[in-house]
């Protein structure tokens, strides 16, 4: 009825609008609008499409700009003659009116003489959808990309020809690839022709991006169905056996109950509710309530209720089994076409295989980067503990000092790159100094008592931690990586590694080479090895063991400082930073084999990969991964007490 009235009104207003016919030759846009005058004036979500269809069909060049202004509520109507206009400045008084076809000024009007056409949200959306086709062909690449993204968010079948049209003219390769991919996915989702869809699905094989997977997965969505016979026409994914893992017995029965194919099963909870509902004066049909403190008594009481006709009969186990046996349960694809689902199934499994291979690659990269972190944290220990045999529990605090050095430098030098370049040598110098001081004052008195070194250095460790807490506070301090270390290098949607991890890996490799050179190719390295193997012999050869010990310990500590700068870039810089790494560092050195840096490398690699491997099996739980890693280390040491790289001959006697 309303529609009839509207139509009548529209007809009346058409008759009453002389402007329409008058402006027809030079104002085609106005003409079209006046044809639908009321639909434009009081546009609604349901009716506005008619106007839009006519506008688009007209192919007028002004249409996109007009739609944009309409959507932005910049369209006005002159009350005197019903003519649609723009205004020059909506705050001006009187308003300067602009013709929507020519853009020429056509006089002024007071703000009470025009109506602003406020398109509501629904109308705006409909107009926006119509605008998309113009935006797809816009000369501005950003507009085209935005329009494409808008379609991707909420694709509609009728947008497919629009994208096809766009593709004919598209020159930008990236955008073209995006559009092609989107069209392919839309073909899969909305395509009419089965063969076309199957071809589209098959062409996606080997693509691992999230969008492709998101496009294929809905095709494989299933729902559980039940019937007395397996339906012929349904696209069956699998037949389910009640009582299996996929469909537990009671769950299967619940489906039957839901479908109205079997009487409801009375669970223990239902029974309880029914019993409570039937309590009268502390009794249930003559049975004392207080006697119902076990399941058997409750079942008996319920049976009494059933007999009295106060409760529904619960099917027995045999009846449940019979009902289940009389029906067949199946998983049915929501997608009707079997050809499409089987093609999708194949493609998805091919993609999954590829993804899992790539995940292994990604995991290996993670493993390498975790190994580099362990290596960096442990490499200083490999010298002080591995070569000299000193258990330095304050090693972690040297790492922490390195990280805080980075933080302090960054507060003074604001440029992140420069500050790191300064912080690296400075951290080495500071922790080298701290290491030498500690060696001179404490450790050199304890060379013959290694276990007591542990206690003394532990004392230093907790004192250093507390002093740091006093100076810098207990909360984490910001130590930011420069921009060129932010972000990550991603090879595809699955394999990616952050630049900071690459940097740590490179730093680890550098340290390794440097230390190997120092220990094996320099005079200092020779003397270090001599002193650690036989101090008295070395000193009779003219080597000063005191000096060498001091330098070696300083070197190990200094390296811990540099490692601290690197670790501080990705970890929280807190007083506990070093303590978090100390146990793992010792394990790395012990697993690898004491006495040479190859061992530490091997230990870090093994621990890093093992931990990542466990995390892969149970991704949500890094605590578990660490637990198993430590258990693994404990067991490993039982079977190879000297570590992976065990020294042989005289060097092993130390």
């Amino acid at each position: 009825m309303t529609r009839l009235i509207l139509a009548a009104l529209a007809a009346l207003s058409f008759l009453a609008s002389p402007v329409a016919s008058q402006d027809a030759p030079d104002a085609p846009l106005q003409t079209i609008l006046q044809t639908h005058h009321d639909l434009v004036e009081s546009a609604s979500r349901r009716t506005v499409q008619t106007v839009l269809d006519d506008l688009i069909a007209s192919g007028l060049p002004e249409v996109p700009a007009f739609l944009e202004r309409w959507q932005a509520r910049e369209l006005y109507m002159r009350q005197s003659d019903g003519r649609f206009v723009y205004v020059q400045d909506e705050d001006a008084d009187p308003l300067v009116l602009i013709d929507i076809d020519s853009g020429a000024e056509i006089g002024t009007a007071g703000s009470r003489e025009v109506d602003q056409l406020r398109a509501n949200r629904g109308v705006q959306t409909v107009i926006g959808a119509a605008l998309v086709q113009f935006q797809l062909l816009s000369p501005d690449i950003a507009t085209r990309a935005t329009a494409l993204e808008a379609i991707d968010r909420a694709p509609e079948p009728d947008q497919m020809p629009l994208i096809a049209t766009m593709l004919e003219a598209e020159t930008d390769p990236d955008l073209r690839a995006d559009a092609e991919s989107l069209l392919l996915r839309m073909t899969i989702a909305f395509g009419e022709d089965e063969a076309e869809r199957v071809a589209a699905i098959e062409s996606l094989a080997g693509r691992i991006d999230v969008q492709t997977r998101a496009a294929l997965n809905p095709l494989l969505a299933t729902r559980t169905g039940v019937a007395s016979q397996l339906p012929e026409d349904a696209n069956i994914a699998a037949v389910l056996e009640p009582g299996s893992d996929a469909l537990p017995r009671l769950e299967a029965y619940d489906i039957l109950v839901e479908e109205g194919l079997a009487p409801a099963f009375v669970s223990a909870d239902d029974r309880r509710e029914t019993l409570i509902a039937n309590i009268e004066d502390g009794q249930i049909v003559g049975i004392q309530v207080h006697s119902l403190d076990n399941e058997e008594a409750r079942i008996a009481a319920y049976a009494a209720l059933v007999e009295a006709g106060l409760a529904p009969v619960s099917p027995t186990d045999e009846e449940v089994d019979a009902a289940l046996a009389a029906h067949v349960f199946y998983e049915e694809y929501r997608e009707a076409s079997a050809a499409v689902t089987s093609a999708a199934e194949e493609t998805v499994s091919a993609i999954n295989t590829r993804v899992s291979i790539l995940e292994m690659v990604d995991l290996s990269l993670d493993g390498i980067s975790l190994a580099s972190i362990y290596f960096l944290a442990a490499i200083g220990l490999a010298i002080t503990f591995g070569v000299m045999g000193v258990i330095n529990m304050a090693h972690g605090e040297f790492i922490m000092m390195g990280a805080y050095t980075g933080y302090v430098v960054q507060t003074i030098v604001p440029d992140y790159t420069v500050s790191i370049v300064i912080a690296l040598p400075l951290a080495f110098a500071i922790t080298f100094g701290a290491g030498v001081a500690m060696e001179r004052t404490v450790i050199r008195w304890l060379y013959s008592r290694p276990l007591e070194t542990l206690l003394a250095t532990f004392g230093i460790s907790i004192a250093l931690q507390q002093i740091t807490r006093q100076i810098f506070g207990a909360q984490a301090r910001p130590f930011t990586a420069p921009d060129w270390l932010a972000g990550s290098l991603s090879f595809n949607d699955v394999v990616a590694i952050s630049y900071i991890r690459i940097a740590i890996f490179v730093l680890g490799v550098l340290f390794f080479c440097l230390l190997w050179l120092i220990l094996n190719k320099t005079r200092l390295g020779l003397e270090v090895r001599a002193v650690t193997q036989n101090p008295s012999m070395a000193s009779s050869m003219g080597i000063n063991p005191d000096k060498i010990n001091m330098l070696t310990f300083g070197l190990g500590s200094g390296i811990a400082g540099i490692a601290g700068v690197a670790i501080g870039l990705f970890a929280q810089v807190t007083p506990e930073l070093g303590a978090n790494y100390i146990v793992q560092s010792f394990m790395t050195v012990v697993v690898g084999g004491v006495g040479n840096i190859f061992g530490t490398l091997a230990g870090a690699t093994m621990i890093g990969f093992f931990q990542k491997g466990v995390e892969w099996l149970n991704p949500s739980n890094t605590l578990a991964a660490q637990t198993y890693m430590i258990l693994f280390v404990i067991l490993f040491i039982q079977f190879r007490p000297k570590g992976i790289v065990a020294l042989k001959g005289r060097a092993a006697e130390m």
Partner: protein, 389 residues
Amino acid sequence: MGNLIKTNRSVPIVLALLAGFALLVTVLSEAYGSGGLSVSLTKTLGMTVCLCIIALSMDMVWGYSGILSLGHFAFFALGGYMIGMWLMYARTEDVIAASLAQGQLPATPAELNDAIAVQIFGVVGGDSFPWMWAFSHSLVAQLALVVLVPGILAFVFGWLAFRSRVTGVYLSILTQAMTLALSLYLFQNDTGLRGNNGLSGLQNIPGAEAIPQSQISIWFLWASIAALALAYVFAAWVMSGKFGNVIRGIRDDEARVRFLGYSVEGYKLFVFVVSAIMAGVAGALYYPQAGIINPDELAPIASIYLAVWVAIGGRGRLYGAVIGAAVVSLLSTWFTGGRAPDINLGFYTIQWVDWWTVLLGLGFVLVTLFAPKGLGGLVDLMTRKGEAK
């Protein structure tokens, strides 16, 4: 016994001192005496006595056998967890049974069990009892587990480690790894012991709701003192005589003892397991007084502190361990409790709550460097004669 007193003259002195201490706290207690000793101080003293027991067990493995275990708190906390499971279960059962009794139908055993499980494990998203709670309803079973769980863990770990002849620093690092692994494991919410929430409300003894904490705390203090006395006599007995000699021999030169035909691994394993059990019992007495246990208690640092107490007290002598644990932990409580007077230097005020750790750390260094015999060395100076050779 007479022989024992002859070989270890500290035993009667320590027993007498403990008896005197027990008498003193009773006279001063709120429940039975003048009331000079507050409930919280009674608990602190009781917990300190438990720490003395674990220090004693640490001294057995480190001071006497030369095995520096940096994971002894794992055994201590496991003992606490075992008794905590019963305390928590039984107490929750009382509460839940009382609340279910308000319901219209009397609860079935299954309903009661489910309600208890939800009450205990709701905080970690669980609604049923994990397997390790199978015996939690039985005090006797959990008391047995207090002994068994640390004992078996120590046996398995020690058997693996000693058999492979992992010694010295390596063993220390492995024990440290063990306690770290256990602590990380318990930190997970789905491993059955309430993750980082731990077990709480352990100070409420089931069936003793009517008894005030002032009485319960003094009972626990008595029990702790009695346990320390027993542990002391037992340790002194084990370490006297031939067994003690072999153990000390292993500490001083393991290879030589092995060449003499002793099963070094067996001796070490025995001491390690016994010491772990002592630690477990100490933990079972400690945590009902502390009221809460969580995986933080197993963190490696706790066990390092334990080694430090023994070192400060003087290892290789049982009373040294007791003195060390008592002195350092009571001093820690005093300083960190805010009771120590701050020192105003004019330009800076030293607040002991913060600076105590620094003082403690430097204290370790000084003791290690200048007093390798620890506080027990002072006794030597007085008697001019060493106890342990």
